[in-house]
């Protein structure tokens, strides 16, 4: 059998395969160059970029939990201008699509970041509406349909790049937020961001994290993420980038079968810097073993009932 076709299209962007980094777990790409050939990736998704520099949260910022970790980095980044000047050139040089994760404190801030990122080398924007630190009028964007819809529409207007809206799992009904993003004009969705969690040092009677709470990621959350991708795929007709605890091709296939067109690897990059390479190889292998010509044939191919 000839080599299976792993290429997919997300919001008009062609990827050589469906495997990308999850925002915030892969820095600005170059950090992992000693461990992984970046040019094999489907895409690189950057750490969140904001209008102004952000210093981030006080330490400790990470803590291991059973099969997962909590993080409260606090959107530390050098700001969009420095990103474009210092980080983007090297990223662009890798030769795979670069998706820039953006965040802000207000619709206005998102819009200005999006405008500034309409430059060569940015393939798409991923709108981080789901970071627990991002709120307007006391509401997190990502847990409110109306805010999500307005924000999406504003970013779509601001920049001609495809807009991927990244959804929060900390909601009662993720499909209604997904629909709001779709109605706002999103070109794709990515999910899930982290679940809000907390861990306590019982000897010192203090939270382990400087920020008290943090975002839970890693294999622990995979069953929740797969369920949400399954729900959203049935509810909304947009391509989905699935993520949450993916460590290998089998995990990635759970998301693809549930309805994700592409997948992102986050926390497991820390554990295994070559995890994405293994996922890509494993997907090709799975296709070969099962006589699947195109990976897209597996998207949403789960049989229920």
């Amino acid at each position: 059998m000839s080599a299976p076709d792993l290429s997919v299209e997300i919001a008009g962007v062609r990827l050589q395969n469906p495997v990308m980094s999850a925002s915030g777990t892969f820095g600005y790409g170059m950090e992992y160059e000693p461990y992984l050939d970046l040019s094999i990736l489907g895409a690189i998704v950057t750490k969140a970029v904001t209008l102004e520099e952000r210093l981030g949260n006080p330490p400790p910022r990470v803590r291991e939990t059973p099969a997962g970790m909590l993080n409260a980095i606090g959107l530390q980044n050098p700001g969009v201008e420095v990103f474009i000047r210092d980080k983007l050139p090297a990223l662009r040089g890798v030769g795979v699509p670069v998706i820039v994760n953006i965040s802000g404190r207000s619709v206005e801030e998102f819009v200005r970041v999006a405008q500034m990122l309409c430059v060569d080398g940015v393939a798409a924007l991923e709108v981080n509406v789901s970071c627990p630190n991002v709120q307007e009028e006391g509401m997190y964007f990502g847990v409110d349909c109306d805010l999500t819809g307005r924000l999406t529409a504003a970013v779509v207007d601001a920049c001609d790049r495809p807009v991927i809206v990244k959804l929060s799992p900390n909601v009662t009904d993720i499909t209604s937020i997904a629909r709001a993003a779709a109605e706002g004009g999103a070109h794709a969705l990515s999910l899930i961001n982290t679940l809000v969690g907390m861990s306590i040092d019982t000897e010192r009677r203090r939270p382990h994290l400087g920020n008290v709470t943090g975002g839970l990621s890693g294999p622990a959350i995979r069953p929740i993420a797969v369920r949400m991708v399954h729900e959203v795929a049935r509810a909304v007709d947009l391509p989905i980038i699935g993520m949450g605890g993916i460590a290998n091709a089998r995990d990635a296939l759970e998301f693809i079968l549930a309805g994700a067109t592409a997948v992102a690897v986050g926390t497991m990059n820390f554990v295994e810097p070559s995890a994405m390479a293994a996922v890509i190889d494993g997907l090709a292998d799975h296709c070969r073993r099962h006589g699947v010509a195109r990976i897209t044939d597996l998207v949403g191919a789960l049989q229920v009932g």
Binding site: Y35, L55, P60, M69, G218, T267, F270, P273
Partner: protein
């Protein structure tokens, strides 16, 4: 920095709950500078999930041996404490920036607390080979005698060596930091190198600043990636914001760290 496999040749319990791992890892032995660390995976599953950072205690390019000193404090290190010769470790390293060279003649003072001794042993070893006439003084502190782990290896590489324990079970009684100001006064080192708990380092930094002696510290912080990608290992910087222990550190000039904002892990 690179990916390597290390094979455990011998695990020695050098003090209760403290293990010296003699590993065979030619790449890391070759490439390591004193003060650098390796980010080691314990097992191949999710328990524990993340890698664990350990300072290189000694690296022998000629034989390929890399020594790590591990104190069993939790899940990962307790698993390591059961490992038998032949165990293979997947590791990233050497990582981070090691100790900077002393100004002048290597008239230096090393201040170690507990397992913080590991990167200082490597440093002392290195100073002896890199400098014509090194004069290495060391203060080594711990709660009790048992915490003065590998002290013979340490002392063997120093011209002067003082042990301090909180309970007086070995050396002088007190805190290692109590002994520091008089020692600086006496020996006027060109550089103080310190590694140990945050609280100790903060006091060391303060004393050195006061005495106007340059000081380098090796910091610890919880790590995600170990390679600069996650921004998890931040410590507060005097310049504002944060610096990464894994990338800008683990060794910093004591003046680079904002000790007031430093919260222990």
């Amino acid at each position: 920095m690179a990916r390597a496999l290390a094979t455990l040749m011998l695990r020695e319990e050098v003090a209760p709950g403290h293990y010296l791992l003699h590993t065979d890892c030619p790449e890391v032995a070759e490439a390591s500078a004193p003060g650098q660390f390796v980010h080691l995976r314990v097992g191949d599953g999710t328990d524990p999930l993340l890698r664990r950072p350990f300072s290189v205690m000694l690296a022998q390019p000629a034989t390929g041996e890399v020594q790590l000193l591990v104190r069993a404090v939790g899940r990962g290190t307790e698993i390591i404490a059961t490992h038998q010769a032949g165990t293979r470790y997947d590791l990233l390293g050497p990582l981070g920036n090691g100790w900077g060279a002393p100004a002048g003649e290597a008239n230096v003072l090393l201040v170690a607390g507990g397992v913080g001794v590991a990167p200082l042993i490597f440093l002392a070893d290195h100073l002896r080979s890199a400098h014509p006439r090194p004069y290495v003084r060391a203060l080594f502190g711990g709660g009790t005698q048992d915490a003065l782990v590998c002290w013979t290896e340490f002392a063997a590489r120093c011209e002067e060596f003082t042990a301090v324990t909180e309970d007086g079970s070995a050396g002088d009684q007190g805190l290692v930091t109590d002994a520091l100001a008089p020692e600086i006064e006496r020996s006027r080192p060109d550089m103080v190198y310190a590694c140990g708990p945050d609280a100790m380092l903060a006091v060391v930094a303060g004393i050195c600043a006061q005495a106007e002696v340059p000081c380098q510290v090796s910091m610890e912080q919880w790590m995600g990636c170990g390679v600069g990608a996650c921004l998890g290992c931040a410590v507060p910087a005097t310049a504002g914001g944060y610096v990464r222990v894994c990338t800008e550190g683990p060794v910093f000039g004591a003046e680079e760290i904002d000790w007031e904002r430093m919260v222990g892990p």
